[in-house]
Point group: C2
Chain length 239, copies 2
């Protein structure tokens, strides 16, 4: 019970404000002395707090209370697009930059993508991958799939989609997206996501699957967006 009780004490101290975000917690050695336990036990107590996302550990430096200052991602109406980031992310998102990682004009579509876009087997898709960074730290990774029958040959298949982003280009092509569906799931990140987004232990990700539909109901874009939940709050305004 000792590891759990160490965690309990520290947790209470954090909640009560004895330790505030950024503060250093007692070291493993200090906890061993205070509680008279073996090192692995003190460690285990601390690791519980880490798993709860309450603390971050800095190797060689200490265990620190974590802060949460989320970027608000306001999805209402505003398309999530390369050149409209500042519109999409509200004022708290200042300092956000976008890096387009890869654009593939024609690629094979994974089964799930094909189904979501209503494509037949063998139909190609245009794929865009991008990364959002907040002060150098990657915070969001997005992959967009569009039917190549619509996107190939347009600026959507280029690195620079131009003013207004992919949605403006879709509109140019007569496929303006007018309705969106977002499916939101929270889960622990995969190893790849931990590396790509440099996610802290004890931090989940938000995985958003967004489908954009044209006026005739045709799906025109499918996006998989993975957000570091330690950095974001999703905001939805519903009428």
């Amino acid at each position: 019970m000792t590891a759990a009780s160490i965690a309990k004490d520290l947790r209470a101290a954090i909640r009560s404000g004895t330790y505030t975000p950024g503060d250093r917690l007692p070291s493993e050695a200090a906890l061993m002395a205070t509680y008279g336990v073996a090192r692995m036990t003190a460690r285990h107590g601390l690791s519980m707090l880490k798993d709860e996302g309450l603390t971050v550990t800095r190797h060689g430096s200490g265990v620190f209370v974590r802060a949460f200052e989320p970027i608000i991602r306001d999805t209402t109406g505003a398309p999530a697009d390369d050149s409209t980031v500042t519109a999409e992310i509200d004022e708290t998102g200042a300092g956000l930059t976008v890096r387009t990682l890869a654009v593939t004009a024609e690629a094979d579509a994974p089964e799930k993508v094909r189904t979501a876009l209503g494509l037949a087997e063998g139909d190609k898709v245009t794929v865009r991958e991008r990364l959002h960074l907040r002060e150098r730290k990657p915070v969001l990774f997005a992959t967009s799939y569009l039917p190549a029958s619509i996107a190939a040959g347009t600026p959507i298949a280029e690195r620079d989609v131009g003013q207004g982003g992919t949605h403006a280009r879709l509109a140019d092509a007569g496929h303006a997206p007018v309705r969106f569906r977002e499916d939101v799931v929270a889960r622990m990140p995969s190893i790849e996501e931990i590396e790509e987004l440099r996610i802290e232990p004890g931090t989940p990700v938000l995985a958003v699957t967004r489908t954009a539909f044209a006026a005739d109901g045709t799906p025109v874009e499918l996006s998989h967006v993975v957000l570091d939940a330690g950095e974001f709050m999703l905001r939805y305004d519903i009428d």
Copy 2:
């Protein structure tokens, strides 16, 4: 590196389908033998998978690959309310039941609630707490705050709000909610949430703060909803 490599091997095996949801992974003793490591090392490898939400452990029985079959919570237009649960939760949510835990006609409002509802210091709120269960397992905990000036004395302050839920009663009182804002955050659960929702290790929660506004823009209800992310997918339809 060994604990990490054990985790890596098992993770790859799970992804490739060698182990499918529900399957038992090799025991700690088996991993000790296979990799020639101490027990704590094998354990650590397994605990990584648990922290990633890939597995669940059953004491005395084994470590099993986890499944994810989410309830879809479709928020579009449909109010999240006691008597409208079946409307709110789509067909995959069959088997969901609601338990109203507590109703307080007049309570002091926490500062954040007061601010969100635009109340003055000393103003009272009506508080409703409820728990949703899926086949006996609690999956969602919700607390609603309404200005007591509106709700006290109406069925909203009663255990049974009647047909149509609180939103219908708000409408009866001339405060029909017409606009909603939902702020969604994902994080690891607190100890209380782990106990209350019986959340598995390695599972985050979705914390939704929903504000309902009447036609004149007045906030009429603030709800804090905590969902077991191992059980839910949030769906938003946006025009």
